[in-house]
């Protein structure tokens, strides 16, 4: 226990400190005004986010249960950043909510869970992190307390995620049974591809697939996204997903290196299904959150495509894409948050004629959607290109063709919304909405990201250098 402890665990410690501080606030009862609390929380998150940059350190703690590298540190920074943005965009919603502090405690706990998951050195820590990241999340999903949809979503979320983690646990137990260890360092040599290990790979893989909402394990996603409060939806679709992707990257190949062919084939199947089915469902959605749920499912397919390349290129591309994805998705969610909060409208049809009344937000939404669709000059184009490039590096062209064609389908549904906003007539368009300064800051950051990330190769190079 030395200085290392504080340096290596600074993100976790920071989050914990914030949690305890907020608990203190709750108990102390000194500050009761929501706005103040929100401001404090945002500032704290900002500080925590900054903290991530100060030092880079590789190392492990607790006998290898906790380890961190530059890459993991960077991933945590990304998650911190996303959480900060979501916190900013949730301002309008939370300022009238009764349980602001609880919201932050739960939110930050899940974030903490993700951090532990990222830094986990064995399956135990991983599992704990996973549960820490999902159980409070279910409570968060239920945070629109008076909305029945919110509860329904929460039930669906907690039951299905419990089911999925059970299945995954079963796989982990098998793995333990065949290897005798749970430590990531020791496992790769012991995993040889025996038949029980195949089973456990399948169980673990499906567990991940569930969390990543890859088809056919995705079915909970849309319902949960639709029912959750906007802030939680964006958190689920961005942060939670990003964290799972990061973990998936650091577990899949390092651990199951000897079973590469097998998991590649699994991925192949999953990617094809995920991209296609995600798209097919996205086409028909009417609720904009639900729509983004399916779109994010399809996006996950692309991320998996990058991961499937099993190379530095693929990992870089995936992480890069996730950053872009955070910008674009949060951009879109910011608009949805404003609209939903001020008018309560969440249907795509409600967005008809949106551009007439809200030029700026219309463009924000359009740019975000273009970025999600992978259309230049937005950063999404670069992200998708790199993913597909990475996917192609394995020489599996069928996969690339399917992915490329699905990009066309996805363009259709993104354009459908753009069309609704820009072209369609509406007798009662959404009135002019602005949102608070905090949301606007979030929007501006996202838009800057969407436009600039692609052109500046710095980010990509930096991620690449972390490998």
């Amino acid at each position: 226990m030395s200085n290392d402890f504080f340096i290596l665990m600074r993100s976790e410690l920071g989050i914990m400190l914030i949690i305890f501080f907020l608990l203190f606030l709750k108990v102390w009862d000194g500050i009761t005004e929501n706005k103040k609390i929100l401001q404090i929380a945002n500032v704290l998150l900002l500080v925590n986010f900054m903290l991530g940059f100060i030092l880079n350190a590789n190392g492990e703690l607790f006998n290898g249960m906790f380890h961190t590298t530059n890459l993991i540190n960077f991933e945590k920074i990304i998650l911190n950043f996303g959480t900060l943005i979501i916190s900013l965009q949730a301002y309008d919603w939370l300022k009238n909510h009764k349980h602001v502090i609880e919201f932050y405690i739960l939110l930050l706990t899940t974030l903490l869970g993700m951090f532990f998951m990222l830094s986990s050195g064995n399956f135990l820590m991983f599992y704990l992190g996973l549960e820490l990241a999902s159980i409070p999340l279910a409570a968060l999903v239920n945070f629109d307390l008076e909305k029945i949809k919110s509860s329904e979503a929460a039930v669906k979320m907690i039951l299905s995620s419990a089911f999925a983690s059970c299945i995954m646990l079963f796989g982990i137990s098998m793995l333990y049974g065949t290897t005798g260890t749970l430590t990531f360092v020791e496992l790769p040599h012991l995993i040889t591809g025996g038949s029980l290990q195949v089973l456990s790979l399948i169980f673990v893989f499906t567990g991940f697939a569930f969390k990543l909402s890859a088809v056919p394990f995705h079915l909970w996603t849309a319902d949960v996204y639709e029912g959750s409060p906007v802030a939680v939806t964006s958190y689920l679709s961005v942060i939670s997903k990003a964290a799972m992707v990061f973990v998936f990257i650091s577990i899949l190949n390092p651990l199951f290196e000897n079973m590469q062919l097998m998991w590649y084939n699994m991925l192949f199947l999953t990617i094809v299904l995920t991209i296609t089915i995600g798209n097919l469902f996205a086409i028909r959605q009417q609720n904009i959150k639900r729509f983004l749920a399916f779109s994010s499912i399809s996006q996950v397919g692309f991320i998996l495509l990058g991961i499937s390349s099993n190379s530095t290129m693929g990992v870089t591309a995936s992480i890069y894409f996730l950053i872009v994805y955070i910008f674009s998705n949060l951009g879109a969610f910011s608009v949805i948050a404003i609209v939903s909060n001020e008018t309560g409208k969440e249907n795509i049809n409600d967005y008809k004629g949106f551009y007439k009344t809200n030029k700026f937000l219309g463009w924000v939404m359009a740019l975000s959607l273009f970025s999600l669709a992978g259309v230049p000059p937005t950063a999404g184009f670069f992200g998708k290109m790199f993913l597909v490039t990475a996917g192609a590096s394995k020489g599996n062209y069928i996969l690339i063709i399917i992915a490329a064609l699905n990009m066309v389908v996805s363009l259709y549904y993104y354009l459908r919304i753009v069309k609704a906003m820009f072209v369609d007539e509406n007798k009662e368009p959404i009135t002019k909405v602005t949102g608070s300064t905090s949301v606007q800051i979030a929007i501006i950051i996202c838009m800057a990201g969407v436009i600039l990330t692609g052109f500046a190769s710095v980010l990509y190079d930096y991620i690449n250098s972390l490998m």
């Binding site: 135990l124 979503a153 089911f163 137990s173 333990y176 049974g177």
Partner: protein, 104 residues
């Protein structure tokens, strides 16, 4: 104890696992589903303990895993029950098939 080895225990746990799965897939009462989850978790626990006991007794990894799983199961159950009850207040039903407002 010679005859009853690890494998038998594993059989029991595996069957229990799938009983749990069956329950999860068929019981329409949400609380029942939660109970099925507990069954599954218990089967996993048996696995971990048995492996630890019979194969890898040099460390206590499996045992600890079990302890944590039990803890988490408790936490999960509490949150799940809270949510179910909350939903019940609005929906006046604990039938999972009634919770299908959001679909397609």
């Amino acid at each position: 104890m010679n005859e009853i080895g690890l494998t038998h225990i594993l059989f029991v746990s595996t069957i229990l696992f799938f009983i749990g799965v069956y329950g999860f897939l068929t019981r329409r009462n949400m609380i029942s589903m939660l109970m099925s989850i507990e069954l599954i978790l218990n089967s996993v626990n048996i696995n971990f303990v048995a492996f630890n006991k019979y194969l890898y007794a040099d460390k206590l990894d499996g045992t600890f895993f079990t302890i944590f799983i039990i803890t988490i199961a408790a936490a999960e159950a509490s949150v799940a029950i809270a949510i179910i009850i909350h939903l019940y207040r609005n929906l006046k039903s604990v039938d999972i098939d009634d919770a299908d407002m959001m679909k397609f």
